[in-house]
């Protein structure tokens, strides 16, 4: 169906230009620009996403949402809605009052007696048609008694702030991982204490204190959340959902409705972009009560406003940095305070405060560190996992401070970074020993790409270039498993729980299996995750899929290979060492003419034996972090490094910033698929550009989101994009990664906004307290500078 001619031509054209240095690993499949295995079903429109699923007799649902930010529900009357012809059922929080969550069970399904943000769900309606459901929602009558809201995280931390979760102490949470403070709005307080900061400051030549921030933004995947849920006989809840974490969704449903895990079945559909928004149960939770009550399938497809308000947002952050440096730029002490604006539910946000906190000092070896990172409840939509998990937010602050300090010291920012970077074998801020550290190579490559810029000066505009560099953690002791079946016709089925959300994981897993078994990619068919028979894996998050699930798939393939060799030895009547394996076949040494394929070796003959390979992977020496010091043996399986450079033109009359060119170099260990890896970097530039220049959730004084649509929440278009150049580090493969690979989906977004902010400063001397760098804000800052002169 794909003409190989064009593809081979492109492989020839591009392979050389891509690999500029020596390569870690270029195998037959791994390291090659394999065309994505899921592309055909996507270009033909055949892949079914969440909203494309349709079950016979299904009902359409709509939500009744709160118009108050913090209020008691004093009256809730659904009778008129229920009486409307065509309405089958209405569900409210009184009937479904279980709490659930990812790491901290603070989330209600529907508001029980209080609403916590404008948009909180008060009731859900299931009806025969959308039109009827929409009318029914309007017939639901609610009266509220307003309570004082709090919209600012710093205000929310004050002792007299309104308490959003008075029962915080009674919630279930992952002990030892989180440290909520009952009686306050602090959902988590993460601490890191390394060395002796005060001693460090005393030894410093200079101390600099800076505070910067980022607002709440939203993932805006092009596909909004959608699912269809049905309840089978025996109260088995089954759903088709566009999720990044089918097993986590299953767990949250179990917690919310007290249903055992083996009576919940989650099928993963196509996912139209996740970025973290689709990691946990959201619309699935809201739809299940309707399915339970109506005994009919219920479809819940979010509209764009619900995507903004009822899924996840990225927490806002205010970060205070006190850094002590020597004259030459070497940092000797850093004291950091992160205050995360977590929104109404912080069940996932708590983890971002934790790891965003321990990564906030950047990819730099600083002997003395003191970090406090708070996740704080506010009456706003719920903050949660967003690509980068705290690193892009913290880097926006931290990497700007590096540039600020370098300028104050009179040294180039690249030199200051180089002096402070981590190296192979160094001890990380969290106490773990670092392996596979590519930050310096990335800095060199980004600097070279910037020096080779094709850009020329533009009349009437100021030019500036800036860099930013990050490191990003992944998960530690999470499980990944994979199973591989060899069918009777020699085709292979591959089962793993990674969600293909656009990052290319489906292809990468198949590349790894192909590499081990030496079979063509299209001999393998991946099966979308189904929690009833896909083996368990932790979510598609934390950039962990290539490493954890890739290894699991590799082990499964190696396990299948081992079984095949055992069977072949019996079949050929030779010792196992004399069985040759290659090209999808096995043969006794010296007798290639007797080669048999996998199906023949296993299922042919008088004692057929189905081969299915299985692999489980986790990191054996992973660890948590000490409550007081934030130190641990290995809190992250690996660290990814990377940097980006931005070139901008600033129109000083209007304050308009034009992002003209973006260069990026990331250390991902080994690049398994250059095309998809480039795609991740190019895509992150677009996302980072949006966050740096356009995106911000605007709330009015009553907590209402004013821009819950694309009219006023601006995503970059084709005409807003810069020239993009990408490269990868080649000198830091990870010894435990499959073929040396680590991950890259998230760090791709880490440095983008900071690089742009630094470039803008270098162009025109403007540095803003908060993103985005809108024209008006830049213009105002330029004006203020003029006045100050």
């Amino acid at each position: 169906m794909i003409t190989n001619k064009q593809i081979l031509k492109i492989l020839d054209e591009k392979q050389d230009t891509f690999y500029k240095g020596k390569q870690n690993y270029v195998g037959k499949y791994v390291g090659q620009r394999v065309p994505r295995v899921d592309a055909y079903e996507k270009v033909t429109g055949r892949l079914k996403f969440g909203a494309d699923v349709e079950l016979p007799n299904q009902l359409i649902s709509r939500l009744k949402r709160s118009t108050h930010a913090h209020a008691k529900i004093t009256r809730l009357d659904t009778s008129k809605a229920e009486a409307l012809p065509g309405v089958v059922t209405v569900a409210t929080g009184k009937e479904f009052n279980g709490l659930t969550g990812c790491y901290l069970n603070d989330s209600h399904v529907y508001a029980i007696d209080r609403v916590l943000w404008v948009g909180d769900i008060v009731a859900a309606v299931a009806a025969e048609t959308a039109e009827i459901a929409e009318k029914a929602v309007e017939l639901i009558e609610i009266e509220y008694e307003d309570m004082t809201p709090v919209f600012d995280a710093i205000e929310a931390m004050k002792p007299d702030a309104p308490l959003l979760h008075p029962n915080l102490g009674s919630y279930k949470w992952l002990k030892g991982f989180l440290f909520p403070k009952p009686g306050t709005n602090i959902a988590n307080h993460f601490k890191l204490r390394k060395g002796d900061v005060e001693k460090g400051f005393a030894e410093a030549d200079y101390i600099f204190e800076d505070t910067l921030s980022v607002p709440m933004v939203q993932h805006t995947p092009m596909e909004s959340h959608a699912c269809v849920v049905q309840v089978e006989a025996g109260n088995q809840v089954e759903m088709w959902a566009c999720t990044q974490g089918p097993f986590l969704v299953r767990q949250m449903i179990s917690d919310a409705f007290n249903i055992p895990l083996n009576k919940i079945r989650v099928h993963t559909t196509g996912v139209g972009g996740g970025f973290g928004a689709k990691l946990i149960a959201k619309n699935e939770l809201y739809a299940i009560p309707l399915a339970l009550k109506s005994h009919r399938p219920v479809k819940m497809a979010f509209n764009r406003s619900e995507e903004f308000l009822n899924t996840f947002v990225r927490q806002g952050l205010i970060m205070k940095m006190k850094t002590g440096v020597k004259k030459n730029g070497k940092m000797v002490a850093r004291k950091i305070e992160c205050i995360w604006d977590g929104g109404a539910f912080c069940d996932y946000g708590v983890s971002i405060a934790r790891s965003g906190g321990y990564a906030s000092a950047g990819p730099y070896d600083v002997e003395n560190l003191w970090i406090d990172s708070y996740c704080v409840y506010t009456n706003k939509p719920s903050g949660g996992a967003y690509r980068g998990f705290g690193v892009p937010e913290a880097a926006t602050v931290e990497e700007q401070q590096i540039d600020m300090i370098a300028e104050r010291l009179g040294i180039p920012a690249t030199e200051m970074r180089r002096i402070n970077f981590y190296h192979e074998g160094d001890t990380h801020a969290t106490g773990m020993k670092l392996h596979s550290v590519g930050c310096e190579e990335c800095l060199d490559k980004v600097t070279t790409m910037l020096e080779k810029t094709p850009l020329k000066p533009k009349e009437g505009k100021l030019y500036g270039a800036g860099q930013a560099h990050v490191h990003k953690f992944t998960a530690h002791t999470v499980a990944a498993s994979a199973v591989l079946k060899i069918n009777e016709d020699n085709s292979i089925l591959l089962y793993h729980a990674v969600s293909e959300i656009g990052q290319g994981s489906q292809t990468v897993m198949q590349q790894i299996v192909s590499e081990v078994l030496d079979v063509p990619i299209d001999q393998i068919q991946s099966v979308k995750a189904d929690t009833h028979f896909t083996p368990y894996a932790w979510q598609t998050a934390a950039s962990k899929a290539t490493f954890f699930d890739g290894n699991a798939c590799k082990y499964a393939a190696e396990n299948a290979k081992k079984q095949l060799i055992e069977l072949a030895a019996i079949r050929f009547d030779v010792p196992q060492e004399d069985v040759e394996f290659g090209g999808g076949k096995l043969w006794p040494k010296g007798k290639p003419e007797s080669a048999q394929n996998f199906a023949q070796v296993s299922m042919g003959g008088s004692f057929p034996k189905a081969v299915f390979g299985h692999g489980i992977f986790t990191v054996e020496d992973g660890s948590g972090l000490d409550e007081q010091t934030g130190q641990g043996n290995r809190c992250s399986a690996f660290w990814m490094f990377g940097g980006q450079g931005a070139e901008v033109y600033v129109d000083t009359e209007t304050g308009e910033v034009e992002l003209a060119r973006m260069v990026a170099c990331h250390d991902v260990g080994t690049v398994i698929n250059p095309t998809t890896a480039e795609g991740q970097l190019e895509g992150s530039v677009a996302q980072g550009l949006g966050i740096a220049m356009f995106e911000e959730m605007h709330f009015d004084e009553k907590g209402k989101l004013l821009n819950d649509s694309f009219t006023d929440y601006h995503l970059p278009t084709t005409l807003d994009m810069p020239l993009i150049e990408t490269d990868f580090a080649v000198n830091s493969p990870h010894k435990e990664g499959p073929y040396g690979a680590k991950g890259m989906g998230e760090p791709a977004l880490g440095p983008t906004a900071a690089a742009i902010a630094n470039a803008v400063y270098n162009a025109c001397g403007v540095r803003l307290f908060a993103l985005p760098l809108t024209s008006e804000r830049v213009w105002k800052a330029l004006k203020d500078k003029e006045v100050q002169k």
Partner: protein, 151 residues
């Protein structure tokens, strides 16, 4: 109202309510779910189809307005097992990530190439400037359209 139109080359006759959008008609009545709803207000391009040779945002076009016209959706690009050049290049050049914006991108590009067989990169970007993508950064999409036009 009874409407009669051609969809992907096939004659279709249906009774529709005038308030039904062309997008809903395609997805719900004809079960052609390749065309997507991304925003419902013509701000994202995910719902693009070709209506009588013109790329339109089907979420703000009434189904009744397609009466007597021809509609081409992403499902209609492949003919007799042969992919359209655009589809091939999208696959070959990594222009597809999550795939949700892909049908819209393909239809807008198809309409462009129907009017302008050899667009410049600038013209391609302009034509696609109403199709949002959150995954790719557009670079490989523009390269794929360019490559499809080249031959």
């Amino acid at each position: 109202m009874k409407i009669s139109l051609t969809v992907n080359g096939l004659k279709v006759e249906r009774e529709v309510s005038p308030h039904m959008t062309l997008l809903d008609f395609l997805r719900e009545d004809l079960r052609l779910t390749g065309t997507k709803e991304g925003c419902g207000e013509a701000e994202c391009g995910a719902c693009t189809v070709i209506l009588d040779e013109t790329a339109v945002p089907s979420c703000v076009v009434l189904a009744v307005e397609a009466n007597g016209k021809s509609v081409l959706t992403v499902e209609g690009l492949e003919k007799d097992g042969e992919l359209d050049r655009l589809q091939e290049e999208f696959i070959a050049r990594g222009a597809v990530q999550c795939g949700f914006c892909t049908p819209g991108m393909l239809m807008t590009s198809k309409a462009l190439l129907m009017k302008n067989a050899h667009p410049t990169e600038e013209e391609i970007r302009l034509a696609l400037s109403g199709n949002l993508c959150r995954c790719t950064g557009y670079k490989k999409i523009v390269e794929a359209v360019s490559a499809a036009a080249a031959e």
